[in-house]
Symmetry: C2
Amino acid sequence: MKRPTILVLGAGYGGLSTVVNLQKSLGTDDADIVLINKNDYHYEATWLHEAAAGTLTPEQVRYDIKRVINEQKVKFIKAEVKGIDVKEKVVTSDAGTHTYDYLVISLGFEGETFGIPGLDKYALSIANVKAARQIRDHIDYQFATWSLEDEKDDSRLTIIVGGAGFTGIEFLGELGNRVPELCKEYDVPAEKVRVICVEAAPMVLPGFDPELVKYAVGQLEAKGIEFSIGTPVVEATPEGVKIKKGEDEFEFIKAGTVVWAAGVRGNRLIEETGIENMRARVKIDKDLRAPGYPDVFIIGDCALMINEETNRPYPPTAQIAMQQGDMCANNIVALLKGQPTAQFVPDLKGSVCSLGHDDAIGVVYGKKLTGTKASFMKKVVDNRSLFLIGGLGLTMKKGKFKFF
Amino acid sequence: MKRPTILVLGAGYGGLSTVVNLQKSLGTDDADIVLINKNDYHYEATWLHEAAAGTLTPEQVRYDIKRVINEQKVKFIKAEVKGIDVKEKVVTSDAGTHTYDYLVISLGFEGETFGIPGLDKYALSIANVKAARQIRDHIDYQFATWSLEDEKDDSRLTIIVGGAGFTGIEFLGELGNRVPELCKEYDVPAEKVRVICVEAAPMVLPGFDPELVKYAVGQLEAKGIEFSIGTPVVEATPEGVKIKKGEDEFEFIKAGTVVWAAGVRGNRLIEETGIENMRARVKIDKDLRAPGYPDVFIIGDCALMINEETNRPYPPTAQIAMQQGDMCANNIVALLKGQPTAQFVPDLKGSVCSLGHDDAIGVVYGKKLTGTKASFMKKVVDNRSLFLIGGLGLTMKKGKFKFF
């Protein structure tokens, strides 16, 4: 009898969790496990704001996939997925075609610019490790050029961050620490630098406890970061962004760097599968399968799951993606054994939003935290991702131990 | 009786040598020594190619001027010199006007683009520490962008170095070591990168021993560096450079980075003084004074001195500039005491051209050297500059001890 093929697309939190749990549960003869990923490394998507600000190096936020997979059991293919045919059960990539018996789609998020003109072209995005690295180098280059040029264009030193959600605030927190270093490195007077957060919604960090949000904004403002809230970006140009301040009131902010950190969506390939979706996210069944496709699991940022307590979707977090990967592996093993699948219920331990390496806000096991305590917990969370996927060895090598 | 004022313009090798020797020879009541420099730091101009390639940080190639001057004896003014009136004996800077009894012009070099269209605008230049830093960041940004972009523009990874003289070759040597690191850091396949040296003259490193030049070119070619010799750059554009390959034959080389390292001249302010000059270099008297201006000394890159053995000018080197600073201080002290001045004769200990941190070519005390021996001597030379100006403390702090 031919061994069934389990094909996992993407080596993010969800995909890697699935694979490492499958290789624990299955013997070499039980199934062919195939993992396809664009890069030969996994990156910590929740640490990208640090690579973008330059407070961590790109190397610090990624590790080789081969460090965590058992190559006796898992075949890794470095390739970019180009198409998913869930009817014919074939995936195409730039390395060829791949058939499957069970498919796990864990392709992660893409940035969403909501059709705002110019953003795609002129704004940078913290989308992956290469994009984060480009943001760091772009900011460095602006500072270097300002420092060198005779007629100084101060707008080179203006950084606009679009979005006051989780990613935007964490990136601002890093910039708050990084800008003084940049000023020193590049001989730039601190008062020349502007960091402005522009947000369309009337609030910062929607969904977070208001008291914690107030603390976060206060801490960031103390570092010189400006907030423009309730003022949507309506256009981006090579010179900066136009924001809407009132009914017929607009302002153009000149800026050498515009980073768009507002809004994510699922992977565009989902939209071509024919599976019903919203912005490439699929409202999955409780056992993580795509409705109508019992051999297709969708987890992580491409999966949509409603929190019945709040009647709103769970946010696309690493925590949930890893739990889904765990459960996804268990359910595939169950199907292989002809057993019933289990239902996924997120185990929400809390949420911590960092404000630089030394400050944070968060709710952990129902307890509100700020400052170094919250920051400590953030590092526990970050190291936990490493531990769950790669064990102690990986955690020792790539973990954040500054505070330990 | 009013103390005479000695005004030194520029804190490069020549200016700082003058000041540290003056402060050793003169008591606080003997003279007012004033040093004006654009930055509050001195940088090692002979190490700039390393900062430009990214093999040394900008911090490693500069140090605070206050580390080496005695503030009891020397008044340091951070200001940019705007004009020199040698008839009225007044210097103007962005900090005001400055009178003098003795003036030392040690303002260093500027890049010379020989009127080639586009070079001023589109080529980068290793002119100072800020310019070197911008080159490093520019190259980083090109690699980051190539790595990120979907439709890859390979010309981003082409670096053209204009000039196969001392600076050009030393910069190429650093690039030879740095490019493999960049490829690793930015996930770029090495075969995509091109580094091309374009030189108008029919030879590399004119004036150097031909056997050593052959060694250098071979070593650089082994690192993948291409040479286009006897092919002048005739135009630079935002996309690259046009070179002349024959009577009516031209080639356009697309390149994301163009660094112009061919040709230096003296400081443009010299041309406005009315003192006879060639490309802002003054053929000085043997005691280092400007002809016809017995109170004006000119040393370093703005000074022109003919080597009577070869009937050609001595090259503008750090070695000669520091010896001139030494002698300049002695001659000013002599004038203050009503004694005759001495004549300057360079004591040429040799010349070493580095080919990266681990290789070099050179002639030291008449002996030809290549490889690690030459590289060792290069570091001795570099540390010697620190020692002569700042003593053991500065050498310990900023010296190149990798090989020691």
